[in-house]
């Protein structure tokens, strides 16, 4: 089987897919990619029927090579990248062959970048998925020297494509629907919460992110409530009234009261907000939230409409001076696929 061979690996690199829905009754949260839209966009770039498992890189990338020709997509947070020493842009697919060296460095905007081989990473599924879920003890962080099996790329000859990504890498508005415990907060506290511009704290990981703000804590009348089921998107108030938005790898039960739930469509925006960026909650009704729901199939269809053949940006051409730039023979930006 083809493999990805990892050489240098950043500290927060894991295999992720769309996670393990349906395991709440045994205490396992869905997990999967922190930014599921990035896997959907990768599937669109690679012309796949459904998202496949890729590598999630939290802030720092990795160096990799391949043992067989294959395509791969680079999506999610924009990261520095080069192929055999020449810079490559993000939100695109590219072809890799044995001997090629793909180097992915530090993140430029957002937090979680993804490199997704067209055949999908094909490690043995564990409880129905390949997603690493460190909090649950499923899988482990990737390390230099790892060889990851990859499924077959059924169309390795397809040309490189470019994607216009869904905007989600600079914080902004996140829509919040009522949850089971919204009513435990009084109307004044809820209104103040939804009128506050929060800063994404330094504290955050795949389980959740803390929100900082000036002003009073968000208190509730919830002494003695039982631990109850929680989900990604829930906004928990810790004992001192500090909000945390739960992400893919959260626990399944929690004792802290929750003021509402960030809708799934805006969860990638939360996951990709870097420390210091502003997140503004906006209250929407259950009916509005339900109307905004889209299936992964619909999201993939919509993402395909944002894919086009790669047009090389002159900035990405390292040997620009060797091109014939005068006389209009070559403009420098035409398709060179």
């Amino acid at each position: 089987m083809s493999e990805l061979v990892l050489h240098k690996v950043g500290p927060g690199c894991t295999v992720q897919d769309m996670g393990r829905p349906g395991q709440l009754s045994v205490g396992l949260s869905r997990g999967g990619a922190a930014d599921t839209m990035a896997l959907i966009e990768a599937a669109a770039l690679l012309d796949l029927k459904a998202p496949v498992a890729g590598i999630e890189m939290a802030g720092m990338g990795l160096d990799l090579s391949v043992t067989a020709p294959m395509r791969a997509a680079l999506t999610g947070a924009v990261m520095q990248a080069s192929l055999n020493g020449s810079p490559v842009g993000w939100n695109r697919s590219l072809s890799l062959a044995p001997g090629d060296q793909l180097r992915i460095g530090a993140v430029r905007s957002g937090l979680y970048g993804y490199v997704v081989p067209a055949g999908g990473i094909a490690t043995p599924p564990l409880i129905g998925a390949r997603a690493t879920h460190l909090a649950a003890g499923l899988g482990q962080a990737l390390a230099a020297g790892d060889h990851l099996p990859v499924g077959e790329d059924t169309a390795p000859g397809l040309p490189p494509m470019a994607l216009r990504p869904e905007e989600r890498f600079a914080g902004g508005e996140v829509r919040v629907m009522p949850g089971p415990q919204t009513g435990l907060f009084d109307a004044v506290t809820r209104a103040r919460f939804h009128a506050t511009a929060f800063t994404r704290s330094q504290v955050g990981n795949r389980q959740g992110v803390r929100l900082d703000h000036e002003g009073a804590a968000f208190a509730s009348d919830t002494k003695g409530i039982a631990s109850d089921l929680i989900r990604p998107g829930d906004i928990q108030m810790t004992g001192d009234g500090t909000p945390y938005i739960l992400l893919a790898e959260c626990q399944t039960m929690g004792g802290y009261p929750r003021i509402g739930t960030v809708i799934p469509a805006d969860l990638p925006r939360v996951a990709q907000a870097a420390p210091g960026q502003v997140l503004r909650p906006r209250a929407i009704s259950v009916e509005e939230a339900d109307a905004l729901w889209r299936s992964d199939v619909d999201l993939l269809r919509a993402a395909r409409a944002r894919v086009a053949p790669l047009r090389r940006d002159p900035h990405d051409i390292p040997d620009l001076l060797s091109y014939q730039l005068i006389g209009g023979v070559i403009r420098g930006d035409e398709d060179i696929a």
């Binding site: 829905p21 009754s25 649950a136 949850g179 089971p180 039960m253």
Partner: protein, 249 residues
């Protein structure tokens, strides 16, 4: 409330693909029993479009496939199921299985046993006797994979969580708070107090089954000494740590 009253849960949103049927905010015998009965009734009803059903001590979650079915229909169907269920005065449904799990109490295995006993106004010896005598049930699995919430303990065990977390308790730690016990499946921080430790590993993804316990199971704790715990841990390929399971029905 009479024995024949039907359940009237609050029906609340849980994301765009879930509804929660909540029977109370804090656990007591009536609420935890009603949750188990309602959960079983919802599972038996096999409502079309429902993807999963899970329960806490106080509520039942119904998560559905939004591509197939809408919230209104699920809410109506779930409310109908709840109406068809009589609130049982007799407490929890009979268990299907009884687990006996060896536990070392106090000392290094349970460094906060004395605190817990004091909070429950019992001697350490009486506290351990009470834990061994308690007809514990798995009321919910959650927080982490396979992690059981056991209870309910008698009212004197309504001990609050600590304000400061213990940074880490080991796998197998038995901790107490709010009339419940939790048996940790992984090393974990906790605000609950550690009274004992078992060699029982409730979750191992490489094992079949990965998770041993199920909601509704009866749990009996069996007292062992620290050296016996060491011996069980030394020879523990199956992760049972000396636990046995009896099928009751």
């Amino acid at each position: 409330m009479s024995e024949t009253a039907s359940l009237t849960p609050e029906i609340l949103p849980f994301g765009p693909d879930g509804v929660v049927l909540r029977l109370g905010l804090s656990p007591d015998e009536r609420v935890v029993a009603a949750v188990q009965v309602l959960r079983a009734a919802l599972e038996n009803a096999a409502l079309p479009g429902v993807e999963e059903i899970a329960a806490s001590l106080t509520s039942v979650l119904v998560r559905f496939d939004r591509a197939r079915i809408g919230r209104t229909i699920v809410e109506r169907a779930a409310a109908e199921v709840a109406q068809g269920v009589s609130e049982t005065a007799g407490g929890l449904p009979d268990p299907k299985r009884r687990w006996t799990i060896p536990v070392a109490f106090g000392g290094e295995a349970g460094p906060q046993l004395a605190e817990v006993a004091q909070a429950a106004r019992l001697s350490e010896a009486k506290a351990v006797e009470a834990l061994i005598a308690a007809p514990l049930r798995v009321l919910a699995i959650g927080f982490a994979p396979g992690l059981p919430y056991l209870g309910l303990l008698p009212p004197e065990w309504d001990i609050p969580r600590m304000t400061d977390l213990t940074p880490t308790v080991p796998r197998g730690a038995l901790v107490a708070a709010v009339r419940q016990l939790v048996l940790f499946t992984h090393p974990s921080p906790t605000g609950w107090r550690q009274v004992g430790r078992a060699a029982f590993h409730g979750f191992d993804p490489a094992r079949d089954p990965a998770i041993y316990l199920a909601p509704g199971d009866e749990i009996r704790l069996e007292r062992i000494g620290p050296s016996e715990l060491d011996a069980l841990e030394a020879d523990n390929a199956d992760g049972l740590g000396g636990a046995t399971c009896q099928v009751l029905r």
